[in-house]
């Protein structure tokens, strides 16, 4: 909370004037001017007409069709996903590189001096709260799910070496693999994993978040994805071109989120089954999603400060304890030295791994990298808008450094501790069950190789569930803002509606067996969004050049 210092009623917490000089864009458009306020029973709504209605209908239709044609939908979407990631892999890879280069350039150039929210703006959240929220929204569930699974996968395929049939490589190893060379396979596997969770994904989030924050806090445009296109489309952005961009953003957000919720539910149930022997069935998953959605609703009703932020901080603490535990009781020395050697490996391999041309590791590049890039990009409206909303008052340099570099370093540490420990357990303790376990069980199998397995597994389940709640809550906040034409004070009942709907979509798709289809749908929205983001890069530079710094 901040108050105007010129006001005679200023309280003790008064801070310097929050704005200062900015270059506001002069447009006649008013936030929420296209909104309608229908009343459905006791619920008063405040929604952006075409965006809410069209995106709502598409989502409902998608869910119904997936359930009705569950046998056909799965393969069709798998096909689409395969087509997009194999034909457009070069485009996704180039896009990812452009985002990283722009972010790094912004850190070192004077454009980094621009402050989001005006020259004298002050941050709304402390570093700890802010950073916790970045992680909770960005990839909390992902790190839990893939922290053990991905390093093992790349390590295993690298050890297997390359296999060629009809002149095409059929193995899934990164780059040239490392047949039979344990040390080299481990190095390459970790570098490839960190590549997927390091600079590139966070650069994608940072670009979206920066564009949104700049055009909203500094330029005075509504907090919706379309605003970043104002320098390109001008006032046309308030018409159909903008509606389409926003609808695409809602679509991507809802499906990206439901995918993550689906992953979270499967892993939490697998964990509960592992520890307590609870049944691992669709019914159990549905009950869990209902329970978690109920928790998310409580979090929604407590707002950003009392809900997402508090839970994110709790989860950061818990995750740090789990990480510390694995480091201490796991192969401590190997993790400590591994951290630096993995960082070095990442530094050495990041350019070959991000090179889109002249490579023969098609399966790895298309099946892993371009799939991940498409997925991160389809997620970016969600994470980006959430990050934007909580990042006012930071300078561009501070913002990019914190959004890009710190999470990347944490990812290196996380992957080194969890993945490295798993590889060590497989190699030195002969725990091949970690490699053989289902994807959602690998984490628990790894923890089982360490002391106090029951306790750490419970902590793991709690982490997944709380990440689930924060994702659902922050997702509702974002979808609500987009479908309310950029208004952030629309009736709370709308946010409740979206939160409930996310749970329902996840349930419907789990019952319909469509988690794969859902994932494919999330990826499909990634391709048009890559174009959106590349245009956004241009808009950011143009917007920043005009800001006082």
């Amino acid at each position: 909370m901040q108050e105007d210092p010129n006001n005679p009623n200023e309280g003790e917490e008064a801070v310097p004037e929050p704005e200062g000089a900015t270059e506001t864009i002069d447009t006649d458009y008013q936030v929420g001017q296209d909104n309608i306020q229908p009343k459905i029973g006791p619920f008063g709504l405040d929604i952006h007409n075409p965006v809410f209605v069209v995106s709502g209908l598409i989502v409902v239709a998608f869910v119904l069709l997936t359930i009705i044609f569950q046998d056909a939908a799965g393969p069709a979407f798998e096909e689409l996903r395969g087509f997009l990631t194999s034909r457009f892999d070069w485009f996704f890879l180039i896009g990812g590189n452009v985002f990283v280069i722009l972010c790094l350039a912004l850190i070192v150039t004077p454009l980094g001096n621009v402050r989001l929210g005006g020259k004298e703006a002050t941050p709304d959240h402390s570093y700890f709260g802010w950073f916790s929220m970045l992680f909770a929204a960005g990839m909390g569930i992902g790190l839990m799910f893939y922290g053990v699974a991905e390093p093992i996968a790349h390590y295993g395929t690298s050890m297997g070496g390359t296999t060629v049939e009809d002149g095409v490589r059929t193995d899934w190893a990164p780059l040239g693999a490392a047949e039979g060379n344990e040390v080299e396979a481990r190095r390459l596997g970790m570098a490839a994993t960190i590549f997927h969770w390091g600079l590139h994904p966070w650069a994608i989030y940072a670009i979206v978040a920066l564009a949104l924050a700049l055009f909203s806090f500094n330029k005075g445009l509504p907090l919706t994805i379309r605003s970043m296109f104002y320098p390109i489309f001008g006032d046309k952005v308030w018409g159909w071109p903008g509606h389409i961009i926003d609808i695409l953003a809602v679509f991507a957000t809802l499906f990206g989120l439901s995918t993550s919720l689906g992953l979270g539910a499967t892993q939490a149930i697998a964990g509960l089954n592992f520890v307590f022997g609870l049944p691992d069935s669709i019914n159990a998953q549905v009950i869990l999603i209902i329970l978690i959605t109920a928790f998310a609703l409580i979090s929604v009703l407590r707002g950003l400060e009392g809900g997402v932020k508090v839970l994110s901080e709790i989860n950061m603490g818990l995750a740090a304890i789990l990480l510390f535990f694995v480091i201490v009781v796991g192969p401590t020395l190997a993790i400590a030295t591994g951290f630096f050697s993995n960082l070095l490996a990442y530094g050495q391999e990041v350019i070959p791994l991000s090179n889109p041309f002249g490579r023969d590791d098609d399966n790895f590049r298309q099946g892993w990298t371009s799939f991940y890039w498409a997925w991160w990009i389809s997620w970016s409206p969600f994470v980006g808008m959430f990050i934007a909303r909580v990042s006012r008052g930071r300078t561009v340099r501070e913002f990019i450094t914190c959004v890009l570099l710190i999470p990347s370093v944490v990812s290196v540490l996380w992957m080194t501790a969890f993945g490295g420990t798993a590889i060590t357990l497989i190699n030195e303790a002969g725990m091949s069950q970690i490699a053989d376990a289902a994807l959602e069980l690998k984490l628990f199998e790894m923890l089982n190789g360490l002391p106090l397995a029951t306790i750490t597994s419970i902590v793991g389940v709690v982490l997944v569930i709380v990440f689930f709640v924060t994702s659902s809550d922050s997702g509702s906040l974002v979808i609500d803002t987009i479908t309310a034409g950029g208004k952030v004070n629309a009736p709370v009942s709308q946010r409740v509606f979206w939160c409930t709907f996310e749970g329902l979509v996840a349930i419907a798709l789990l019952i319909g067996g469509g988690l794969g289809a859902l994932q494919a749908a999330a990826v499909s929205t990634g391709l048009p969004f890559t174009v959106v983001l590349l245009l956004g890069c241009y808009a950011i530079v143009r917007g920043l050049m005009r800001e006082p710094r």
């Binding site: 105007d4 009623n9 929210g117 907090l223 707002g303 400060e305 009392g306 809900g307």
Partner: protein
């Protein structure tokens, strides 16, 4: 009896507040009290203003206009919030405490079935504030 009357206003729907505003002004006149208009705005651009500062200026202008038309002394204060949809009740309580107001006059809707689940802002303030609260319907 009353020295300072706090009037929460939503500038987006100022036209719906006429009855509450007039009631507050009449009370201020009869007790020779000062009227203080309080508003809560998001950090992001809103239907009312591009920036919180612009919001503050509009609220001050609104307060001046009210003061002139009713012939009472007025003042205004605004608060910003990252999540105004939820924080508004808490922020209003803070405003009441910090302003030292001894009466709050605010508009609220006629209760409906939803109020069993979600209390209205007026209902919440009346239930939680230490000062007297006058709800106008």
């Amino acid at each position: 009896m009353y020295k300072k009357i706090l009037v929460p206003v939503d500038l987006t729907h100022a036209e719906n507040l006429t009855k509450a505003l007039d009631t507050a002004a009449e009370l201020a006149k009869s007790w020779k009290a000062e009227l203080c208009y309080v508003g809560v705005t998001p950090e992001t651009p809103s239907p009312v203003a591009h920036t919180p500062k612009e919001y503050g200026e509009k609220l001050a202008a609104f307060a001046n206009k009210q003061g002139e038309s009713h012939g009472v002394k007025t003042d205004s204060v605004y608060y910003t919030s990252t999540d105004p949809a939820i924080d508004i009740n808490k922020t209003l309580r803070k405003a009441i405490e910090e302003s030292g107001a001894d009466l709050v006059v605010m508009a609220s809707h006629v209760p409906n079935v939803l109020d069993y689940v979600w209390a209205s802002h007026g209902g919440y303030i009346a239930e939680h504030a230490d000062t007297s609260v006058f709800i106008v319907r």
